[in-house]
Amino acid sequence: MDFKKLLEKECVILDGGMGTMLQAAGMQLGEIPEVLGFTSPEILYDIHRAYALSGSDIIYANTFGANRHKLKDSEYTVSEVIKKGLANAKEAVKDLGTYVALDVGPIGQLLEPTGTLTFEEAYDIFKEIVVAGRDDADVIVFETMTDLYELKAAVLAAKENSDLPIMCTMTFEENYRTFTGCSVSAMALTMEGLGVDAIGMNCSLGPKEMYPIVEELARWTTLPMIVKPNAGLPDPETNLYNVTAKEFAEYMARLADIGVKIYGGCCGTTPEFIKELKNALEGVKPAINKVVAKSAICTPCNTVVIDRPRIIGERINPTGKKLFKEALKNNDIDYILGKALEQIDAGADILDVNVGLPEINEKDMMVRVVKAIQAITDVPLQLDSTMPEVLEAGLRVYNGKPIVNSVNGEEQIMENILPLVKKYGASVVGLTLDNGGIPKKAEKRFEIAKKIQKHAKEYGISKENVFIDCLTLTASAEQDGVMETLNALKMVKDELGLRTVLGVSNISFGLPNRELINHNFLTMALTYGLDLPIINPNVESMTGAVRSYNLLTGIDKNSVEYIEAYNQANGDIRKNVSGETKQMDIKQAILSGLKGETKRLTEKMLNEGAEALKIVDDMLIPALDVTGAEFEKGKIFLPQLIMSAEAAQAAFEAIKEDMVKKNNAPVSKGKIIIATVKGDIHDIGKNIVKVLLENYGYNVIDLGRDVPYETVVETAIKEDVKLVGLSALMTTTLVSMEKTIELLRKSGHECKVMVGGAVLTPDYALKIGADYYAKDAKESVDIAKKVLG
């Protein structure tokens, strides 16, 4: 059956609640409703048929929860349940011509980073469902989704494994957000980008409460809109819904004014509701949604519209940064996350992510970094690589709508990258250069921009999603080029109506007082129409240039943002701290837990020629030993112990920077693996241990949480690690700890194992084959000293 043809109808009607009907038929709470397809097909037959006869154009098969996770204790396979569910629905409506949807709900387990289910596992779970249902369904529906990431996995699985049309609806609360914080705009931008056929919302609210949220959706999408609300709100005591079928239908019909195309009911609605709905929509012509598409990118919780200058932070990039390269080589993701937060705090709206280094697997690193950054911030990303496979890997796991950096006027490059931009629904940066290099004249760069836009259009990428970079040349070498860049930028902006992006700092290369030139060039570029400056936001004058531009051009209404940014800076508390602590030495600074002061003192000693190892052995470690001893005696407590450790860490950073500068090998007293075992997601204890161990000069390989047994063993062998620390918080995950140790012993790799965690006891630690039990972070250091020296 042809879904497009169905959409030619003015209004398309879906079915109503399934759970409601099943419970009325006597289903127990907690039972798997999908299994009823085998045990009570007649109940389903009646429900489906009742909906079809009431006027549904599409009915949803009873397959909502038919996934590997929910059926794990069932005697039926996913494929059996899906096929049965679809067959029952088809059987019920075979003489009526009603469309049958493969109905797919959430997996029922949270995805990373809050949960443990990986994006890739989620994709597999949905793929299994799609493959099982693709031959029998007319359309695939993903509904009641609250996590954009899960929905993205689902839609990719559907797109890559079937040709069926896709409808998707998420569940929003009255605050216009889903439980996971996903906004209406983020859903629209991301799903429209991925190429679904219709989007909307279902469940949670009644039609009246949904009205403003549908209005919001209409501002963000040109796709057909779906609305499938509950029968009002449930009474918490009786669980009954408060809207009658007639009222429901009346409210629903009003949604036609906003342009809703597809109507149905969710919890609490029955065939009677659908019948009333059908009547109410008789002869109704939904309004045409005249929304203009916006240039915007997003994460689930944060949509950034490019309707004013937005700062792209450039610091996640190893080019010319020794410490960053070291971090990439050592898989030190925390270092990169630190760079992300630093830029966001300074005012970045978007972060460029480039992790290209010849010695590492850039593709894996891109995936790890994208996942790690989106776990801690909601700032959208610009994925930056020259390799299509790296970009694709990043695009796949990105949660939301990102920017791809970049294509240029070369045919081959556009051919490689634009299809990816289209498939994953991103925006793209186009550099105005081609095989002939960077044209000198503005007009020629403009021509390339035009060519990029044309190609993008051929691939189905609309102009709002093409951002042109007219390329900054170095003023000291090509002084005439400066205005060519700015003129080209203005032409692209005015004549093509495209957004513009520009890396700024190159302008001053080779000149003294670079900041001054950068700052002025940025201001000039902004007045020429620059939308997306790529800068180091940590440089105050650069971020300040954008802030003052926004104030002076009236973008920052009533100077609210400007005042907020600079009022805070006046109350900078750091100044007070350094004023008080003139007489301190490193040891005292550590004991007082003063990060900045410890770092400053360490730098001073290094500059005066002190030997790094001597500072570590004579100052850092004795100071940490003191705090450790006081902690044991109960004189200081956990937060203070960690504060001192973090102060020492700041000293280590200074030492590391110094060594890299002098090209010395870093200080290391030996490698230690730490991991929170498979199945366990509580990693704060492990992270405390990490800080402490690092401060004693150990090189800690942190494998994270929910770590598979094999990963621990493989890493131990590959890195030849002699001490492995495992943590588990729950009784249920102690089994994983035991299995990890077992596998480690079986591998024959010689190493010691220390274990810790809330429910462990010394006896139990020995029982599961550990060498040491650490009751707290402090003890893990004592053990490390014993094992590694």
């Binding site: 387990q109 009641t144 801690i376 407590f637 937060p639 203070q640 704060i684 992270n687 009751k775």
Partner: protein, 224 residues
């Protein structure tokens, strides 16, 4: 549910091992910051349902659902009760992310944040119970007993949440290892009785510090 107004910092300090010791100024200041951040972003939510219970040899059955509570601890807990409230409460996903982000900024603040976040879900539970009591008059309540306490298996978490429709109505679900996500979430069983219940103390069984408590290790009690 209303926004969280304030958090019991003494309780957070107890989790951090302070006992009755006073924290220093620096820690006090961080506690205040963390309190503000958590109360700003937490999305407290709860769900509950009331059921009859059926005592059988192999466990306590909840008619109309697939749930069966096994073990001695829950029998003891529900002694004298004719009904139960099953409830779930959460501080929301944003709190989890706040803890993750804080860990990158600094572990000292992160441990304090984590402790205070645990306090926040306890707050949500107390508020939820208060609201439930307004609706459920005529009954005496037991304290809140959670799956995983004593010998009540934690493996029932999944079905427990499904009975409350918690994945759908409040975004709380379990991992493959039966842990609740968001992590600052709680499920609990409250027994209901028409007759006054024998006073039972919560004791250490319900405390998250249970196994690593310094007081317990020393054979004493924190007095909570």
């Amino acid at each position: 549910m209303q926004k969280i107004e304030s958090l019991d910092k003494k309780e957070a300090l107890r989790y951090l091992g302070y006992g009755n010791n006073e924290p220093d100024e620096q820690v006090k200041k961080i506690l205040d910051e963390c309190e503000k951040q958590i109360t700003d972003i937490a999305k407290p939510a709860f769900a509950y349902k009331i059921f009859d219970i059926e005592w059988k040899d192999d466990g306590i059955y909840i008619p109309g659902t697939t749930l069966v509570f096994t073990g001695e601890s829950i029998r003891e807990h529900l002694e004298g009760c004719e009904k139960v409230i099953l409830m779930c409460a959460t501080s929301g996903q944003e709190v989890d992310r706040l803890i993750r982000t804080t860990q990158i900024r600094g572990m000292a603040k992160a441990v304090i944040m984590d402790a205070l976040a645990s306090v926040s879900v306890e707050y949500v539970c107390n508020e939820a119970e208060r609201l439930i009591r307004d609706n459920v008059k005529d009954y005496y309540f037991t304290w809140r007993f959670s799956p995983g306490y004593g010998d009540l298996p934690i493996e029932i978490q999944g079905s427990f949440l499904n009975v409350l429709d918690a994945p759908k109505t409040m975004g709380v679900s379990v991992t493959a290892g039966d842990m609740l996500t968001p992590t600052k979430s709680v499920t609990a069983i409250i027994g209901l009785s028409k007759e006054p219940l024998k006073a039972k103390t919560r004791g250490c069984i319900s405390c998250s510090m249970n196994e690593r408590c310094k007081f317990r290790a020393g054979g004493t009690h924190c007095g909570f």
